[in-house]
Symmetry: C2
Subunit: 214 residues, 2 copies
Amino acid sequence: MSDYPSVILEQAVNQMASLPGVGRRTALRLVLHLLRQSDREVEAFANAFTRLKHEIRYCRECHNISDTELCPICASTRRDHSTICVVENVQDVMSIENTGQYNGVYHVLGGVISPMEGIGPKDIEIDSLMERISKGGVDEVILALPTTMEGDTTNFYIYRRLQNRMNDKSPMPNDKCDLKISQIARGVAVGNQLEYTDEITLGRSIVNRIEFKG
Amino acid sequence: MSDYPSVILEQAVNQMASLPGVGRRTALRLVLHLLRQSDREVEAFANAFTRLKHEIRYCRECHNISDTELCPICASTRRDHSTICVVENVQDVMSIENTGQYNGVYHVLGGVISPMEGIGPKDIEIDSLMERISKGGVDEVILALPTTMEGDTTNFYIYRRLQNRMNDKSPMPNDKCDLKISQIARGVAVGNQLEYTDEITLGRSIVNRIEFKG
């Protein structure tokens, strides 16, 4: 499929196909769809992305995407600012918000530690998390990172840094020692048959069983 | 999923989700991927589509997408200009070119007649096809439209217009009467089991059977 009738068309297809999960055939279909739209619509399509790149900001507190310096969640007085849920990215915030089960605030790392991809602790928002906690007022940190090797590594790294803080001979022991560190429950997904659950998940769900409240 | 943390993000997601087959969840994933790219890359991405819309041209002969006034196929002296293959769109030209089985030229209608969608014969490139044929030098028109009701309608409409032309008491009977009109073969796809072929296709493949050349 290298014989495009036009270089301009081919470049548009190349750009579309650079998106993850978009093959060249789909890219061509999408580009030809755009070509059928009005000038104004294509302009709006293209502008949305340049505008995104140039104008998007990140909340100075939680590093979530935001139009304002402080995101609506961090700015809200109705949220529990003593609980910080640490997540990998923006989608995770939206997913947790959609559950309606969480009323604390977030901290978006913007990635997880991955030696394979050359992402170290300094490349993600861990230092800013520590800084935030050291300001005081935080009772609990919930680690809600992906249940992958990289997620586990990052969980453990953050846990150790928080432990080291708490063991410090500090002039403010009260602030530092009362921090609860938890992680999201892992186990059999709701509605799943046990026989279709992978062994590691099933094993963990037995080891980490919780008291039955009838 | 209406609680995007940013209006700019939401607009970019809306634009991405306006593409056919792209849901809002996928759109968000694609937009956040773009956000991780460099300014230059996002600029190139956006520019490819505005450039496409502003600079793309159509071959004045076959109406295929082209960077030049006459597309490479129409401009080629190595193609058989006496055979015109009528197709719905640009992808069809590319698909037939990829078979390596066709050496004639094309005519891209830019759609098929569809009363349901309000597309009539005047909305697609049928008049220009008639004009092209009336110039002479065309021996065969191959109808390669989709095997749908709309494709069949368009096939029949073009066939009738060509028939009317040929029946005209014309001062140049030779030019007008020798036109062969054919359509692509429909039948069981190569490599397919008969039991998995739909009844209409299988029925047609029996009615339109061809002589076996052992």
